[in-house]
């Protein structure tokens, strides 16, 4: 340290150098410790998501259950749904599951309808449908890829008999689904958000217009049902994002508790010690020289 030099100019240089190196090393250690970042905690993201649907017009309200094949008592998902309804998503572990149904409110044991296999990181909808599906149950793979934040992304699920196939067009004539079979889900497409109308009708036949409300930055399934001789559309949210996405980061700090305060303190203490001791020595020398 300079103070030591001033105090004892005759001290061996080697000792001073060693002491200096030690002080520098100590300072670096203190600064390093103060600056060392803490590793952020993260969780693995391979969650599988599952939801249930009742899309069979011939059934009323149903109770659907999903249980593990390995452990039948372990029911991971249970939902009472009316015609045209989809449940919310539930995270499930990968594995094989049994889907069973019974009329809602009944006490009879659920009837095993289908065995499904859930792979990691997938999102799917398991629904009762009319028609020829195994056990009256089918499984759709849901694609929750985010749209352009200013657009709405949707697909159509056809649960509206009697037509075997339906064509669906957007408000500006966009092809939303072509020849979509009963009990099937179409592929995803992008439409502008807001109050909108879809044209729905069997191929080659006159179409009817059904109103839908689409939201920006949202992925949805439009479930077509038939009731009272008319086609209706129910928009079910698959995944919702912020309708308005602010660009860039958030500035939420004024620095009053900045992380580097520790490092600054170490440096400032060192500077102050050197300054104070030299000022004292200079002052003393000047006083003595008088």
């Amino acid at each position: 340290m300079p103070a030591r030099h001033l105090a004892r100019p005759a001290a061996p240089r080697r000792r001073a150098a060693a002491a200096g190196t030690g002080v520098v090393a100590l300072l670096l250690l203190v600064v390093g410790l103060a600056l060392a970042p803490t590793p952020p905690a993260t969780a693995a993201d391979a969650t599988s998501m599952l939801r249930l649907g009742q899309l069979n017009p011939d059934q009323g309200n149903l109770e659907l259950t999903v249980s593990s094949v390995a452990d039948p008592k372990n029911t991971v998902l249970i939902a009472a749904l009316g015609y045209g309804e989809l449940s919310g998503y539930q995270a499930v572990e990968e594995g094989d599951y049994v889907v069973a149904t019974r009329p809602a409110g009944s006490s009879e044991p659920p009837m095993v309808a289908k065995t499904i296999s859930v792979r990691p990181g997938t999102t799917s909808t398991v629904a009762t449908v009319g028609g020829a599906a195994e056990g009256g149950i089918t499984s759709f793979t849901d694609d929750l890829t985010a749209p352009d934040p200013t657009k709405a992304r949707l697909r159509v699920i056809n649960a509206a008999p009697p037509a075997a196939q339906l064509d669906v067009r957007g408000p500006a004539g966009e092809q939303v689904a072509v020849g979509l079979a009963l009990g099937a889900a179409g592929s995803y497409t992008t439409l502008p958000p807001g109050e909108s109308r879809l044209s729905v009708g069997p191929p080659g036949a006159p179409a009817v217009e059904v109103p839908v409300t689409l939201k920006a930055n949202e992925v949805s399934s439009v479930v077509l049902t038939s009731g009272g001789g008319a086609v209706q559309a129910r928009v079910v949210v698959d995944a919702a994002g912020s309708p308005v996405v602010p660009p860039g980061p958030v500035h939420a700090g004024f620095g009053g508790a900045a992380a580097e305060a520790g490092a600054y303190r170490a440096a400032s203490s060192a500077v102050l010690i050197v300054l104070a001791v030299s000022a004292a020595l200079v002052s003393a020398r000047l006083a003595r020289s008088r």
Partner: protein, 418 residues
Amino acid sequence: MSTSLLGTPPPWPLGLVTAVLAGVLLWSVTARLRLRPESRAASTAVYACCALLTELTTPDGVDGRATLLLSAGGMFAVAGTRRSLLAALACAAAVALAPVVGVGVLVLLGAMALRKDLLIRLPAPLRRIAGVAAFAAAAALAVLLARPQDGPAVPLGVLVLLGACVLLIGGVSWVRLPWLRPPVAAVVALAACQFVPGPDLDAVLPAAAGLAVLAAVLTEEHHVLLARPVLVGAVMVGVVATALLVPAVPLPAATPPHHVAEVVPAAAPEPPRVTAVSIAIPRMELSGSLDVLGVADDGELLAPDDPARAGWYAGGVVPGDVGPAIVGGHVDSRRGPGVFFALRSLRPDDVVEITRSDGRVARFSVTSVAQVAKEQFPTAAVYGPTPRPELRLITCGGRFDRGARSYTDNVVVEAVAT
């Protein structure tokens, strides 16, 4: 410094340069006072220590502009009576830069009037009234500048140092050196402003400079204080000890806890939509009402005005509905920790509860805590669609960039509904 009449504070390198220049000017002032070199060295050391402490322990750093002007005023004042107009102009400019300096100047004028150094042609009763009026104006200005919601203006260590010096110098000089009383009173008033919550850091350096010069003058008069190596050493040890004791994280400003029950608004007839009302994070011992956050003109999400409160982004998703609801809060204020200071300490499975205006409580479980550079802010992951009700808690983290007055990183906590 935000109370300056001349706009925003300077960038910190300029503040530091003006503080150093003010120190040089102080050295010249002590030279014009014909003080001895050792006293001048000691006084400059005292000033430099105060400046360094302020520079290193506050986010904005020192602002030496007002001190520079006051030192110039001091130069003119000690140069001769003809320059008193220039001295007054310099002081006025300093007050315009940092209104809190006006407290010290008013006290100085009042004390001079009472001591017959000012308004000498006025009859005694009138002069006394003028002096008392100046004191009253100083007190009114201090009250006007106080912002009780903020904590003390400077770190505890600097306060202790200034307070000790004020007591020492004021106490020693008051009885033995009557002519030193006006400046002592002014510096005491200025230093006392540090104890009043609110009026920023502007008064630190002027007070430190005044103390330094007074200390040097006092040394000349008494030959017992500061001129002796042992005493100088003792003062320096005190300074160093204070520096080591300065808390790395200043104590949080005393803010009343926000009680949920009191802030839930009475059910309005047909509210347009559900809003988020309050937040509770047991791990952080946090429970308080939520402000409503909007966006700036350029679309960026604005943080809450009050560093002690978190806010919900109303242009986004309602907590508990499908999608990512956004809640932001400050990591700190200029004085100490903010509402989300401990956000980075959250761990997976920690619980966050948001109470909605419809009475529902949305319960979330933390899934990840990440620190991300602001240049690479994960907009898609934060605002993008999710299949379940989720929550994003956002605050600042990383290094504080003093030049930009902003942190380099964001801390983003993701949570899903349970």
